[in-house]
């Protein structure tokens, strides 16, 4: 199985994301630079966190124009898994692959700390290895992670089971405690918390591991 970790100028969680995938069995993973125009041969694409283009103008607003994003659109349409974390989530929103927007944190400060999340839907390709309503501890590290969508969109996300993670103690003002959502097809995930930071007990936890296992399981079943 082949995983692409996209690298934009200013990405800084690319190494962490690659490191997490490298812990998975039988996974080959590599960086794909923003200037590439093809994602052929990959089974999963991960859009890592950071400050692509310095977050200038608006988080993710410039990155979405990178050549690789056109390939990512096609990749997403093909139904293969795409995961965007933190700045990656912001980029996926800017690119229109997910619905809603991320605003400045309610307290206007950057927040970095472990945060409790609840698995709101474990019937997705990203969460199948979690149990329903399982409470996880996964760190956040962002200044603009205050998720917003209008009531109509929220109702749709909710009824389609597109809300995958919710904060237990909302840290940033996100609408209805939303921490992570997927698209209507269920193959594009965006989340502000960093699962790739909790995959080794030495670093304080492994609550992120099942997310990677879930994606792995999905891909293996599909090929099988």
């Amino acid at each position: 199985m082949k995983v692409a970790v996209l690298v934009f100028p200013g990405s800084n969680c690319d190494q962490d994301m690659l490191g997490a995938w490298q812990l998975m069995p039988k996974v080959e993973c590599q960086y794909v630079f923003h200037s590439e125009s093809s994602l052929e041969g990959f089974d999963v694409v991960a859009v890592p966190g950071g400050f692509s283009y310095g977050d200038y103008l608006r988080c993710g607003a410039i990155a979405r124009f990178s050549p690789v994003m056109k390939a990512l659109q096609e990749f997403a349409e093909s139904g293969k898994p795409v995961i965007g974390v933190c700045n990656g989530f912001q980029i996926l929103l800017e690119a229109g692959l997910l619905e809603g927007a991320l605003l400045r944190n309610e307290g206007l400060s950057f927040i970095c700390r472990p945060e409790k999340l609840r698995v709101a839907n474990n019937h997705s390709m990203f969460t199948s290895a979690y149990s329903e309503n399982q409470v996880l501890e996964i760190p956040i590290a962002h200044g603009e992670g205050n998720y917003y969508c209008d009531a109509e969109t929220y109702a749709r996300l909710k009824s389609n089971g597109q809300i995958l993670f919710e904060y237990e103690n909302n840290p940033n003002g996100s609408f209805m405690n939303i921490a992570g959502i997927c698209n209507s097809k269920g193959n594009v995930l965006g989340m502000m918390p960093h699962p790739e930071r909790v995959v080794e007990s030495l670093l304080g936890g492994t609550d992120g591991l099942p997310l990677f296992h879930s994606i792995l399981n999905f891909c293996q079943h599909k090929t099988a």
Partner: protein
Amino acid sequence: MYPNPQQIKDQKIYSRMGVSDGEFEKITEHLGGRLPNYTELGIFSVMWSEHCSYKNTKPQLRKFPTKSPKVLQGPGEGAGVIDIGDGLAVVFKIESHNHPSAVEPFQGAATGVGGIIRDVFSMGARPVACLNSLRFGELSNERNRYLFEKVVKGISAYGNSVGVPTVGGEIYFDDCYNGNPLVNAMCVGLLKHEDLQKGVAGGIGNSVLYVGSSTGRDGIHGATFASENLSEESESKRPSVQVGDPFMEKLLIEACLEAIQHPKIIGIQDMGAAGLSCSSAEMAAKGGVGIELNLDLVPQREKNMSAYEMMLSESQERMLLVVEKGYEAEVADIFKKWDLYAVNVGTVISEPILRVKHKGVTEAEMPVQALTEEAPVYYRNSAEPVYFQEGMKRAASVSAEIKEQAEQKYQNNWMDILKDLLAASSIASKRRVFQQYDYMVQTNTVAGPEKSDAAILRIRGTQKALAMTVDCNSRYVYLNPEKGGALCMAEASRNIIASGAQPIGVTDGLNFGSPENPEIFWQIEKSVDGIVAACKAFDIPVIGGNVSLYNERSSMGAVFPTPIIGMVGLIDNPDHITTQMVKHAGDSLILIGGNEQAAFGGSELQKMLFGAVYGDCPGIDLDEASELNKRMLEAIQQGLVRSAHDVSEGGLAVCLAEKLFGTGFGAKISYEAEDPINWLFAEGGHRWVLSTAKPEKVLALFGAHASLIGEVLAEANLELWGENLPVASAEQIWAHALDHSVEVAN
């Protein structure tokens, strides 16, 4: 438009740039009797500023032991380098950005972080961690709250964006820092031995490449500004403060680390203080060659910039590279991948001079040695201050006065004293601050802020880990600079040891007032002596550092002498990683080290009861401390220690409380102290509290230096001689005190 050489001399225009009459004469001598023009004078003035030349402190800095078999690079390069085995080396340095932060706290602090990160990757190392040491006036003052909040935001904005985790630090508040905050940033990097770079030019005819941001008018004369006292007029120097672009820095890191793999790169250096002038002069001087620059080729972001402005600009995120002739395009291609330009702006020449050409005119021509090694050195007068002599006289009565006040104000209710100490801004949790820093990015952080006495990072691909800390109790140093300097070193070593690491090196950030004042110079001299004594006792080399003088505001006098110790340690086995919180009910609590040397001079309790510190600072026996360091590490390596925390501000009682926070456990203290207030709250000596499941073994290892003081309880209460304090209520006070100080006042 600029004054001509004769006008500069006649009207003493050089004095506006901080150049003395004597120095002006020397400049003329170095130029073979010719008077300098305005551009040359500007370059000399920044190169000879304290910030670049250490002209007031060189004789002091020479006292530091700088060698050990593991030191690959001592002071003199961008940062020091120490071998850690496995073909790897650790690179680190601390740097101040005090003056800029006083007038423009956000950018001042942000560019301080940027500057120190460049120092580290210019050595060929990937920056893996940042720490910072901050000082402000008390938070009851609105300006101080503003400076505090903005400095933290500046560090957060830059560090988070550039992707280097800010894993630790320290913050203190004291009115001596009113209007003159201290902002010292430390960066730690890792490199493979073969990637070690130097800031050196060589090979006649080779090319000088300019990389990174374009040059603007920001930061002109920043180094000179940093080498004079702050005053009401300092506000007008706001244009001397640079503006940071962390995105550009991130690109530079990636591009430079890729570029150094190119075999034809001769040298690389950051354009930091004194920008193009300093980097080119230093690289040429180190290589025993000269450099000719053509400023027409320098990328410029503003129109009609003069040679003077370009040479003195401190625009951020710029690097200078020397590349073998013929390979400029190959190197430029590496930078192009990251959307950066690498422009050929000069040539290495055999004459050891810095020659600057602009629009066909030679604007400056100066011997590089005169700008660097031959900068003036001053042996300043030193005088024992009156405050110190008076403090020594009062020292004997400090303890009795503390006891009297504690009786009067607290009726000797120890828990009430403890609760108030936990709310003191210097002791209270700093989570308000460190939650704004991404301390986990790069996923190596094993112990971030307030987890272990030192921050701990694993080294990917090895069994090793690094421990790092910054420490300085400037109250001690003020009361007794020599003992205080040694105490700072001792505390840093305790923190490193408590995390399970062997200390391997130090970088020092020396912050003082004006060296021209003999009493201040005495503080510099004595505190360096104290640090040197401790370095020798502990056998830890100093591999680099920074000096910031003139930390004075004309109306308010100098800051406390603040020599910050940045220390790094090495852990060989992940099993040795140790954190500060208790882990198991039933474990024994053991105090290591005696409190014979403990005292109240400069203590948090003295500050709380009297609103000021006076007397003499606590003592320390360095030989005993060194022996305790060894045994403590042995105890950890033998697996006897489940948690360890050093005794520092607030004394033993605060240490015990901090060991319980967030654990759900409590502690019962059974030790019968003869002098309870001294035992609980006095500071000094060389002490830790550890928790262990094997108390007999620990007691046997330490002998008379250890005492069993209590045990860990399953219930979250602190029980002390019949009194009982719920840990949750103590933690509540400690966790939110800083928020209250900032928000309630606002």
